[in-house]
């Protein structure tokens, strides 16, 4: 994947400032992003680094204090509804209505994206088959397992065949098998040409899925590149004997260190 393709996401000087109890808080401090069409772009960072805030601004769910963001060529602040037509969103919590069935939820989502009742039902059936939820389709969501909920959430984000799919920590809290299923889904979705913007705390996930990634800390981007290039840069700079992992890149970037004791890995923030 090269960055010479047209941008699916372009953000310039993106800032978000809140007024909290202790005064003004800068959650995101001038983020610049350029994600090419068809990429799987990873957005990594420690808790509270500004990942979710950035995603919420890019997906029209949060106002932008300053800066600009274009998603699929649409200015998200100037024309939020047009941007919403082009993006799919699956946020940190699998945001689902527990009292509806999987089929009802997808049908509703399709209707909200402009399908008439009949075609919405057909689209829901198509998506249920795609994420292999046909058997559970007519049970209420509140009875679904975490993995099934996550797949349904993904399906609901795809109802309108978005150009850009935002996944905010899609595998947090999932067991390893469910995590692998989500990875397969992400690859399949990307294979169909959808750009994927993925935030995650799992570096292995980023290594497996992402063509390029950025690391954000304290509201600003501190590293950006392909996983291979980032590892090579670290090895060259520090003269590491062994091939560094993405964990090493992350810890180096965020100022963390780690010590090994009795086989456990312990992370210590410097």
């Amino acid at each position: 994947m090269t960055t010479s393709a047209p941008s699916a996401i372009r953000a310039v000087g993106l800032k978000k400032t809140y007024t909290g109890r202790d005064g003004e808080v800068e959650a995101v401090r001038g983020v610049d992003l350029d994600v090419a069409q068809g990429e799987v772009f990873g957005f990594l960072g420690p808790n509270g680094a500004g990942k979710s805030t950035t995603v919420r601004m890019l997906t029209t769910l949060m106002t932008i204090t300053s800066g600009t963001a274009l998603v699929a060529g649409v200015d998200v602040a100037a024309d939020p509804n047009e941007a919403r037509r082009k993006i799919g969103v699956a946020l940190q919590e699998a945001g689902l209505d527990p009292r509806q069935t999987g089929r009802e939820l997808l049908t509703l989502q399709a209707r909200l994206f402009g399908h008439k009742t009949k075609s919405a039902g057909a689209r829901a059936a198509e998506l249920l088959e795609l994420v292999e939820l046909t058997e559970a389709a007519d049970r209420r969501v509140k009875g679904y397992s975490g993995g099934v909920k996550r797949r349904l959430d993904l399906a609901s984000a795809l109802v309108h065949q978005p150009e850009v799919l935002f996944l905010d920590e899609p595998t947090t809290g999932l067991d390893p098998a469910s995590r692998l299923t989500v990875w397969e889904e992400v690859r399949r979705i990307n294979g169909m040409g959808t750009t994927v913007f993925l935030t995650t705390q799992y570096l292995e996930e980023a290594d497996q899925l992402c063509n390029r990634l950025a690391i954000i800390d304290h509201g600003g981007i501190i590293r950006e590149g392909t996983p291979v290039a980032l590892k090579a840069e670290l090895r060259e700079r520090t003269g590491m004997a062994a091939e560094p992992t993405l964990d090493d890149v992350f810890l180096d970037a965020t100022g963390g260190t780690r010590v090994r004791s009795a086989g456990d890995v312990k992370e210590i923030q410097s």
């Binding site: 919420r56 997906t59 919590e93 699998a94 689902l96 009292r99 909200l112």
Partner: protein, 251 residues
């Protein structure tokens, strides 16, 4: 309109799937009706009480109970649940008018109130109550109370949007309850003590209660009905403006 219809249908399904939420809306107002009539009916005998127009005191009390039932909505609490669970963000990420996000659940409250109000009136009929304005008056009564239900629950929904907390929403909704009681709910306004009369005069709910009472006791009174519907329209417009502002600036 497709999106509003879709969200309204979902909210109606939700209402049907949680019948337990209807229990307080039905039981508490009927309980108050029975208790209030039981306590005060002998003070206001039908033959000697001009403002009853020949009906029982239950007929005078019925609008209070209908308005109380109309205030027991579930829209705000479901909304908080949706905000906490993340589904509200999913809806906000859809290319739909923000108005439909506000109105979807309120439409379900309107429909629910139609059923509840009609049921309560029908239950009251065997107890010596009749609707003086006839079947048409009954329909106007049901629509008026149900519109108010949507507006009232819209204000509670506004608290839910502002606080995003179930506890705060429940506490906040208590602010509105005095409105139901600072009204001429036991006797007509002119028989209230002066401070209560002033409070009732400034309370918009008074005019809905009086319009409803007119339909039950007196027949069609254009002036009274107009005041009731103007209060509902003005409150509804205020609620919509505030709700839209809240949803548009929701971060």
């Amino acid at each position: 309109m497709n999106e509003l219809a879709a969200l309204s249908q979902r909210a109606l399904r939700e209402t049907i799937r949680t019948p337990e939420a209807l229990f307080p809306a039905l039981f508490i107002p009927l309980f108050f009706l029975v208790v209030n009539v039981g306590q005060a009916a002998r003070i206001f005998p039908t033959d000697e009480t001009p403002f009853l127009n020949g009906q029982s005191y239950a007929a005078f009390q019925l609008p209070s109970s209908l308005l109380l039932a109309a205030s027991f909505g579930a829209a705000a609490l479901y909304l908080v649940e949706e905000i906490e669970g993340g589904y509200f963000d999913k809806l906000r990420a859809a290319p739909i008018s923000r108005m439909s996000l506000v109105l979807g659940r309120l439409y379900a409250e309107f429909v629910k109130s139609i059923v509840l109000t009609a049921f309560m009136v029908v239950v009251a009929l065997p107890f010596g109550i009749h609707i003086e304005s006839g079947f048409l008056g009954f329909l106007v009564l049901v629509v008026m109370i149900s519109l108010w239900s949507a507006v009232f629950n819209g204000f509670i929904q506004l608290i839910a949007l502002a606080t995003r907390s179930a506890a705060a929403t429940q506490s906040g909704s208590m602010v509105f309850f005095p409105l139901l009681f600072l009204t001429p709910n036991f006797v007509p306004r002119e028989l209230l003590t002066r401070p209560m009369e002033i409070a009732a005069t400034f309370n918009p709910v008074t005019y809905i209660m009086e319009a409803a009472r007119t339909l039950i006791l007196d027949g069609f009174d254009a002036a009274s009905l107009a005041k009731g519907f103007v209060v509902i329209a003005a409150s509804g417009a205020l609620m919509l403006v505030l709700s839209l502002r809240m949803v548009n600036n929701y971060d």
